[in-house]
Amino acid sequence: MELVIQNDLREIETLTRFVEQFAEQHKLPPKLSFQINLALEELVTNIISYGYSDAGPHKIRLVLHMADGRLTAEVEDDGCAFNPLEAPPPDLDVPLEDRPVGGLGIHLVKNMFDSMDYRRENDKNWLILTKNHVNVGAT
């Protein structure tokens, strides 16, 4: 399944519906649907909020694919080069008074999927998330 959205946070709702439809189609367990939605929302929010050096319209393409118990989620954007694999892990032991408010989304994404691959090609970021051994039809 494929979805193309604009760089507008209002599109998060469209993204959520897209994930729900995909989950329904493949009878994914609610927990997995929740994880996919959370990971994609974090990534798309990062792209929309910090990914562009101009204020113009941009497209973000998302593809969800399920085959042989393996789920892949692909995110493609034409924002500034950003490799989330190089993002340093947050220090989760920092006390409240010193805790930065942001920078946690990528950490969540890494925890929701088994692997992440990134490449920069044709001035676009391509991120592929993979989850193995998905129990289709589970409740």
Partner: protein, 116 residues
């Protein structure tokens, strides 16, 4: 996902903010507005009832950190109650369970405020 309904009620010297629905990157500024309103009225003892919350993004959790920090600076706190396992899982993954007070029941959090 359900749009988040945010209800605020005053109970003695406490404020209870009840969340029902999903708080994503688009909708969380509404919670921020509610919390900023409390801060501006010097209401720094707040319980966030997450019993009806079925989704939260890191951006929304970040807003809670900002409020909790200011509340503590002013002698108050933000306590979270009634988190579902999947919401608690996110809170835990982000290490927020170490810096925010979490209670299973509202009465428990209210008692903690009263007894210090």
């Amino acid at each position: 996902m359900r749009e988040c309904i945010i209800k605020k009620e005053e109970a003695d010297e406490l404020d209870i903010v009840r969340l029902d629905g999903a708080l994503d990157s688009y909708s969380f500024p509404r919670l921020e507005t509610t919390l900023n309103g409390l801060r501006d009225s010097q209401r720094n003892r707040v319980i966030l009832d997450c019993g009806g919350l079925d989704y939260i993004s890191s951006a929304a959790l970040g807003a809670l950190i900002g409020f909790a920090r200011r509340a503590r600076e002013n002698g108050g706190d933000l306590k979270l109650v009634r988190l579902s396992p999947k919401i608690y899982n996110i809170v835990e993954l982000l290490g927020f369970h170490k810096i925010l007070e979490i209670h299973s029941e509202l009465d428990e959090a209210a008692a903690k405020f009263r007894n210090g």
